[in-house]
């Protein structure tokens, strides 16, 4: 094996790892291998720009696909009895789960956590509803429910543990209003004011929103 071939092989091995290096999903050994190679061959860093562009457009393509229709969860739940062997039918609804919790207190912390989580979600929904009601009085909404002005719509799922205060702060930071929701799957429709309404600007804005993982679980493009 010539020295040249060994060098080419090393470069190819590093090139193969770059997509995972860019997404931060390499293990420590491979991460160190890539970083060491990039330190020695900085010209390869330009390839990272290609990788990032590929990722950005792959995300945009996927986000443009939308989401399942609103009734999907109902169709799934309706098909369950036929799909499940008969012995599993206990604790199927929240009230049943709560009753079960009180009937079997020895089950411990896990059940407390489940009940607390359900309560949190309910509190969050109520809090968001307050934001929604107050926003409906704003200047953005027409009588038909369509939005006007220099903005775009997006669909958002807030993190389960996001407080109303944190959501409110996020909306202020992004100059956004909640205009509808919750929809199936915990989706809310928000309206974001932005002057540059190009596709690229919208994608960038949604990505910035999605990066706020303390408050946001997912962001989808909305239909204007």
């Amino acid at each position: 094996m010539s020295e040249q071939t060994a060098e080419e092989m090393e470069r190819e091995e590093i090139e193969m790892l770059l997509p995972w290096y860019a997404t931060g999903r390499l293990d420590r050994v491979d991460m160190a291998k890539v970083e060491s190679y990039l330190d020695r061959h900085p010209q390869l860093r330009s390839q990272l720009d290609l990788v990032r562009a590929e990722q950005e457009q792959t995300v945009a393509s996927n986000e443009a696909l939308g989401a399942p229709s609103a009734g999907a969860i109902d169709r799934l739940m309706a098909s369950l009895p036929a799909a499940r062997p008969g012995r599993w039918r206990a604790g199927t609804r929240l009230f049943a789960a709560v009753a079960d919790f009180f009937a079997t207190p020895t089950a411990g912390a896990v059940r407390w956590a489940a009940v607390a989580a359900a309560a949190l979600v309910a509190v969050q929904a109520a809090a968001i509803a307050t934001l929604l009601v107050s926003d409906r009085g704003g200047t953005y909404q027409t009588a038909s429910g369509q939005q006007t002005g220099d903005g775009v719509s997006a669909l958002i799922i807030f993190a389960d543990d996001a407080t109303a205060e944190a959501i409110s702060r996020l909306l202020a930071e992004f100059d956004a209003n909640i205009v509808d929701g919750p929809k199936p799957g915990g989706l809310y429709k928000i309206r974001l004011r932005m002057e540059d309404r190009s596709q690229a600007a919208q994608v960038a804005l949604r990505r910035r929103l999605a990066e706020r993982r303390d408050v946001v679980r997912a962001v989808l493009s909305g239909r204007d």
Binding site: P19, L26, L50, A53, A67, P68, A72
Partner: protein, 187 residues
Amino acid sequence: MSKDDDAELLRRTAVGDETALRGLFARHQTRVFRFVLRRLAGNAAVAEEVTNEVFLEVWRNAGKFAGASAVATWILSIAHHRAVSRLRKRREESWDEDAAAALQDAGDNPEVAVQKADKGAILRRCLDKLSAEHKAIVDLVYYHELSISEASEVLQIPENTVKTRMFYARKRLSDLLKAAGVDRGWP
């Protein structure tokens, strides 16, 4: 999205808790739907049907989940399996929408394409023209942000094959971009 939350929801699903299944569905339905939709060349109705099948399988087999991987990876591997089965069935019925989509897409020459769209749009069009196999690995790595081992589990191929498949998908993408008038200087 916490992996611990997913594990807890799956544990509850395994003992028949429909609320927990709803939770898993709410968390993962969009990712699964999009993954399946891309495999099925944009047929949303069928993708939704397959997404439901995936979660029915989650419901049936939640108790069999060994915990060796993340729940999200396990669900995506079911989605991959279901999408492949559906594609196989479709091919047996002599209906190949990938080919049809490729034919429909062949209209513009490179100059027109460059005029019509910016670089990002051209890149998206070229990503869409990748083969089903290449598209799947690109989506899993870039959109679903899976590690090499997780992609290996979803696609049921060795880790080295994951790496080479992604590498050749990127090379193919460069070829398609070049044909569309964009030379990005690699490979």
